[in-house]
């Protein structure tokens, strides 16, 4: 009985024991999956998605070829077992297509598509488990998979969900909370502070919006650190595997572009 769970109890705890401004445990697994150029399995708490990036490669279809930049193709599938209720979504489900195009719009300003005219970047996202913040997880996973594939990005894109219970803002909502409180998802590019996505499907009072928006944006920065660390870690492992001993601390890795290494 969903409604029987208190979203934020008097002791300041949420239903899963977190406090208002605590994000869920994030697990990033960047290990190679099949023939993908870059792939990741990312989980925010119990929400788990895998993303694989192929490309840039030659566009398969003539019609989709853009002469001055690469075409981004995103396909999202929801695993039938990802939700409590087993349900198969068709490939042409309107909501899924809409979801994919949202992600595409989020990444268009971040990927340097101009570098690869007449080519295509395929991103396949598989939602394995849903417990709130699916969009946020998909965006973060895509960022990581793109980075792992070595596709030049202007910046990380970090997405976080935030909601308001009465007057108290909450971060990183679970399904329970998403059902109960008005919420929004923001994708931020931490270096520039640009916002590439903001969605809200529920009503939220204008007065609350500013506050929650600021909060979610700063949560994006926190997430950014975590994601960056994961990428660095992975690169280090790869470099080690190539039996090129890591240089002394402080020196730049050759594979590691300067853009990634802001501070």
């Amino acid at each position: 009985m969903a409604s029987r769970v208190e979203i934020l109890n008097d002791g300041g705890f949420r239903s899963d024991g977190r406090k208002q401004y605590e994000l869920r445990d994030i697990v990033i697994d960047l290990s190679q999956q099949g023939s993908a150029d870059g792939s990741v399995v990312l989980s925010h708490g119990l929400t788990q998605v895998s993303a694989s990036v192929f490309g840039p490669r030659e566009a398969k279809m003539r019609s989709q070829t853009l002469h001055d930049r690469a075409n981004i193709n995103i396909e999202v599938t929801f695993a039938p077992f990802s939700m409590g209720e087993r349900r198969k979504r068709s490939r042409n489900d309107k909501r899924v297509l809409d979801f994919a195009s949202t992600i595409k719009a989020t990444f268009e300003p971040a990927i340097q598509t101009k570098l690869y005219p007449r080519s295509q970047i395929d991103i396949y996202i598989n939602v394995l488990q849903q417990d709130g913040g699916v969009l946020q997880a998909c965006i973060n996973a895509t960022t990581l998979a793109l980075a792992a594939a070595g596709i030049p990005l202007l910046d990380f894109v970090c997405a976080v969900t935030g909601g308001v219970q009465s007057a108290s803002p909450l971060l990183d909502l679970t399904t329970l909370e998403e059902n109960d409180v008005p919420h929004l998802t923001v994708a931020v590019m931490p270096r520039t502070g640009n916002i590439t996505l903001l969605t809200m499907e529920t009503r939220l009072h204008v007065d609350r919006f500013e506050e929650i928006f600021q909060l979610v944006t700063s949560a994006g920065h926190v997430l950014h650190k975590e994601m960056k660390a994961a990428i660095k870690d992975r690169t280090r492992t790869l470099v080690a595997a190539m039996s090129v001993a890591p240089k002394a601390v402080g020196e730049k890795d050759p594979l590691y572009s300067e853009r990634m290494d802001d501070s």
């Binding site: 009985m1 969903a2 409604s3 029987r4 208190e6 979203i7 109890n9 008097d10 002791g11 705890f13 899963d16 024991g17 977190r18 208002q20 401004y21 605590e22 994000l23 869920r24 445990d25 994030i26 708490g45 119990l46 077992f81 409590g84 209720e85 087993r86 488990q129 417990d131 308001v164 219970q165 009465s166 971060l171 059902n179 109960d180 409180v181 008005p182 529920t202 009072h205 600021q214 909060l215 700063s218 949560a219 926190v222 997430l223 975590e226």
Partner: protein, 993 residues
């Protein structure tokens, strides 16, 4: 800026932090649920002086605990388990009981799942300043979190969690007070697990936890223990599992018989059919009036009422005669009794406390049945023949809400309490419950399954804020099913195209308007109506004839000239049936152009009328009567008072005044004749509301309606006209005449009143005939109490049946009579603007005098019957709506007055219950209940109630006693429903509720 962190949940801890389970939905689908939780070490223990925990700067528990208990001299804290809160909430809420309490999250959540109302009480308790309660979130603390192990019930798991938390506290206290070397070790306070579950205590002791039962603990408290022991509920002594082992869904009600079996049963007489009437006073009782029994069949208890809702047509089975009972004289309020019932969980509760309590209430009644009282047949509902469910006006019960944040989008199950006390609470699922609190809403019942205690419904729409006039008015109209939408275009198109410039054309025999019409414009016709009346549908005249006789005429607006059969306007009027008068609004049956203008017999304009003209002897004997369509021109529109003063003014001798005098003298004779024939002079509690102005409609005062001579004048002539018309149309159309009758009430209806009068006042009520009743009612006088006679009349009126329209061909000739008026035949002819039956009568009368042919529909018995059924129903509803509207305004007046001073009014006791009195405040025209706490002594045979007074003397109050009550309007906290609350002032009693 706040600090944003990422909470880590190590994989190794997943056994404790992650949970997967399957749950079956109501539809039978199985759903997988995954939950995680984040365990932490920064959950505060709440004990002041603890350095290991990060504590908020709130009121903390004293570091030494409390030394009040004799059992734990070194100081102690108590950790009560769930049952303590479920069963002993009164103890916990007591001001005298305030040891430092550690409330575990496990307990809090279990209370929440068991009963939301109790949970809300508990939350209020935690927040109150005079309690020392610390909520410890043990489920989130890494050292106290538990997981359910294989084969463990949720209940056992919770108990284990509570014990683990208690153990943790015990060891934690040693950390707070570390032994200092060299010093004598300070005595450490202990943590006591308070539980009434023996099993739990045994396990606790084994694990080295100090345990105590509630009784044992309270006894050790010293000073106030005696008072506190009183608060212990008996339930606490028994050991019951916290959670009823839910055996999926248990049927709470017997299943209905198949419809074919029901019909067969009704046909062969095994079952009986009738309308289900819920009891106003006792939600566990209802009755069904069936033709087979002279007294209504009682249905006692939920199971026997078997999901019938007030108004449903049900099939009932009668119990053996030895099981027949007397209706109980106890007021059982659903809200009070089921206060702690839970909207969400009540689905899967089987035999629980509520049922046990209800059973107890019913049993008590059974014991109280005295041998002398007359018994009524009892039975149970075995099938529903027709549901008469509609949309009900309700309030949301705020305690049934699980989340009261207005922004919450969660779907919750809540209770909607109907405004009418006759209806059960309705369970409702909505996403906007918090926003609906304090609003009047419309709810329809969807279904009532055998497994569900309450009917389930859905939200239709919100009507507006409680007590706003618009919302109240609309809810009233909806509640009584009054069609109040504005007239549509098709209907307005039926009006004369000239609109309000329509006039009677100049006299011309070829003009269709003038065809067969008499020109009565020269007569001195006038109308007498209440002040502010806009729809004047009757006017009168009288003049002396040369032969010494008197010609008197009643002229009724000729509505049938404008409203033709089978037009949209006619259909709409038939559907509306009647105009509804509320205190500040009138809902018209006909468009206002007709009602207040073209058909209204306003003064100084020519109007079409249907006239009844008699030649009467000066002794008011009818020489002859004739009926004619006519054109009249009213010379004046009087109010009752104006007419009265004009008549009494000796200086005036003009024709108009003279004719009023003639009419008045005739009316007095007519009335005397009627009374001699045995007509009843009945009384109903009518009051008038004075509004400040027509715009603001703020009531300023309320007073009883006064009756003048002229009221009676108009009434007598209308009765005469109605009777004359009834005879005429019955003669012409014996099969389809639209008539009105009032059946004589069954003698048994009066039994109770007769008994009360006999026992309390030594008076006799002879109900053998209406004449006898009228005579004996006249004798019911109490010289000390002038209002007593009126009271008896009001009560006698309530014993009677209501009058109804009928089609003359549908019932036996000998049942045509009108009991109240003592007339062998009667109809309604005089108010066609506001009553649809009158329109039909007009058409029949016009046909019977050969003015126009009768429309085919009025030749059909079936059609007339169907139309009259609707009209009868609407008529009843309109009366109730009007009364309810007055009641609402009386409430407003009381509220306005209550602001300045306490309203105290004289009242009569009209009913005695086992736990209260029904009183009637004649000045305000309202009825109310005075409830008493505890167990007053009730004497059912003598209709008295004995209540202790402050001086410890018993006061006995009997039916018909005059008392003084304090009247105030009180808002129910949960439902926002304004309730008139009455308390006894004189004679003084100790504890009124």
């Amino acid at each position: 800026m706040v600090e944003i962190t990422i909470r880590k949940r190590p994989r190794a801890e997943a056994v404790v932090t992650q949970r997967k389970f399957f749950k079956k939905t109501a539809r039978g689908k199985v759903i997988k649920v995954l939950r995680e939780r984040y365990l932490r070490n920064d959950v505060g223990c709440g004990i002041s002086g603890c350095k290991t925990c990060t504590q908020p700067a709130q009121i903390l528990l004293p570091s030494g605990g409390s030394a009040e208990s004799k059992l734990f001299l070194n100081g102690h804290f108590i950790i009560p388990d769930t049952n303590v809160f479920l069963a002993q909430m009164d103890l916990m809420e007591s001001n005298l009981f305030n040891p430092p309490v550690i409330l575990l999250q496990t307990v809090l959540e279990e209370v929440r799942h068991r009963s939301l109302p109790l949970y809300n009480r508990l939350r209020a308790l935690v927040k109150s300043d005079d309690k020392r309660i610390w909520v410890f979130y043990n489920e989130f603390h890494s050292e106290t979190a538990v997981v359910r192990v294989q084969d463990e019930t949720p209940n056992d798991r919770n108990d284990r969690g509570i014990r683990k938390a208690t153990a943790w506290y015990s060891s934690h206290i040693s950390l707070i007070n570390p032994p200092v070397r060299g010093q004598h070790p300070k005595p450490k306070p202990i943590v006591v697990l308070l539980t009434d579950d023996l099993q739990n205590r045994i396990k606790g002791e084994k694990e080295g936890i100090k345990c105590s039962s509630v009784r044992e603990y309270v006894e050790s408290l010293g000073d106030h223990s005696a008072q506190l022991l009183d608060l212990l509920s008996a339930e606490g002594d028994e050991i019951e599992p916290t959670r009823v082992q839910s055996s999926s869904k248990q049927a709470l009600y017997p299943e209905y018989l198949p419809l074919s079996a029901v019909f067969a049963g009704v046909k062969n007489g095994q079952l009986h059919q009738g309308h289900f009437n819920a009891s106003q006073y006792n939600y566990l009782e209802g009755s069904v009036l069936t033709p087979a029994f002279s007294r209504p069949v009682l249905l006692i208890g939920r199971e026997n009422m078997n999901r019938a809702v007030h108004g449903d047509v049900v099939a009932i089975e009668i119990f053996d005669e030895k099981d027949w009972k007397v209706p109980v004289d106890q007021v059982i309020d659903q809200e009070a009794a089921l206060k702690n019932d839970d909207a969400e969980d009540s689905e899967d509760e089987g035999e629980d406390e509520m049922f046990v309590q209800e059973k107890k209430a019913l049993q008590e009644e059974r014991l109280a049945v005295s041998a002398g009282s007359s018994k009524q047949p009892t039975g149970r509902v075995v099938g529903i023949i027709k549901r008469n469910w509609r949309a009900y006006v309700c309030h949301i019960d705020s305690t049934s809400l699980s989340s009261s944040h207005a922004t919450s989008l969660s779907q919750q199950t809540v209770f909607a309490t109907p405004v009418s006390r006759l209806l059960p609470r309705i369970r409702l699922r909505t996403r906007q419950a918090p926003a609906l609190i304090g609003q009047k809403i419309l709810v329809t019942i969807d279904r009532w399954d055998a497994t569900s205690r309450y009917p389930e419904g859905h939200f239709v729409r919100a009507l507006g804020k409680v007590e706003s006039k618009e919302a109240e008015q609309e809810s009233l109209l909806l509640e009584f099913d009054v069609p109040y939408r504005p007239f549509g275009k098709a209907i307005l198109d039926c009006l004369p195209p000239e609109g309000d410039s329509w006039v009677v054309p100049p006299r011309d025999p070829n003009d269709p308007v003038w065809r067969d019409r008499e020109d009565l414009r020269a007569l001195d016709v006038c109308s007498i109506d209440p002040p502010g009346c806009q729809d004047i549908d009757d006017a009168l005249h009288a003049r002396r004839l040369s032969n010494g006789n008197i010609e008197a005429g009643v002229h009724i607006a000729d509505v049938s000239h404008f409203v033709h059969p089978e037009t949209p306007m006619d259909t709409e009027a038939a559907a509306r049936g009647t105009t509804v008068y509320l205190v500040d609004k009138r809902i018209d049956m006909l468009p206002s152009l007709l009602g207040t203008n073209l058909c209204s017999l306003r003064p100084f304009v020519e109007r079409l009328a249907f006239s009844v003209i008699w030649e009467l002897t000066p002794d008011a004997k009818i020489v002859n009567a004739r009926f004619a369509k006519s054109v009249i021109s009213s010379k004046s529109a009087f109010t009752y008072e104006e007419a009265q003063t004009r008549k009494d003014d000796k200086t005036r001798n003009d024709e108009l005044t003279e004719s009023i005098r003639v009419l008045n003298s005739l009316a007095q004779k007519l009335k005397a004749g009627r009374m001699a024939a045995g007509a009843l002079n009945l009384a109903s509690p009518e009051v008038k509301i004075y509004l400040e102005s027509s715009e603001s409609s703020d009531p300023i005062d309320v007073e009883q309606k006064k009756l003048l001579e002229t009221n009676s004048l108009v009434e007598e002539f209308m009765l005469l006209a109605n009777i004359s018309v009834a005879q005429k149309i019955q003669e012409t159309f014996p099969q389809t005449a639209v008539l009105r009758r009032h059946l004589p009430p069954p003698q048994t209806n009066f039994e109770k009143l007769q008994d009360i009068l006999q026992k309390r006042k030594g008076m006799n009520l002879d109900v053998s005939s209406s004449g006898a009743l009228a005579a004996s009612l006249d004798k019911c006088e109490d010289p000390e109490l002038p209002a007593f006679n009126t009271l008896v009349r009001i009560m006698a009126t309530r014993c009677m049946l209501s009058a109804e329209y009928f089609c003359s061909g549908s019932v036996a000739r000998d049942t045509f009579g009108h009991y109240g008026l003592a007339s062998p035949i009667y109809t309604h002819f005089t108010s066609p603007i506001r009553r649809y039956a009158d329109v039909l009568v007009h058409r029949q009368l016009a046909a019977s005098i050969g003015y126009s042919p009768l429309h085919a529909t009025l030749h059909s018995k079936g059609h007339v019957e169907r139309t009259l059924d609707v009209v009868n129903r609407r008529h009843r509803m309109a009366q109730m709506a009007g009364r309810a509207s007055v009641e609402f305004y009386v409430g407003l007046v009381l509220k306005a007055r209550g602001g300045e001073s306490i309203v105290q009014e004289e009242a009569f006791v009209i009913r005695a219950f086992r736990n209260g009195l029904g009183v009637f405040v004649s000045k305000l025209g309202i009825e109310g209940l005075v409830m008493f706490k505890g167990e007053p002594k009730y004497d059912a045979d003598n209709y008295t109630l004995t209540v202790p007074s402050p001086e410890n003397e018993d006061v006995t109050i009997a039916v018909f006693d005059k008392v003084v009550v304090q009247v105030e309007v009180e808002k129910d906290k949960n439902t926002q429903r304004g309730k008139v609350k009455m308390t006894l002032v004189d004679p003084p009693v100790a504890r009124t509720l």
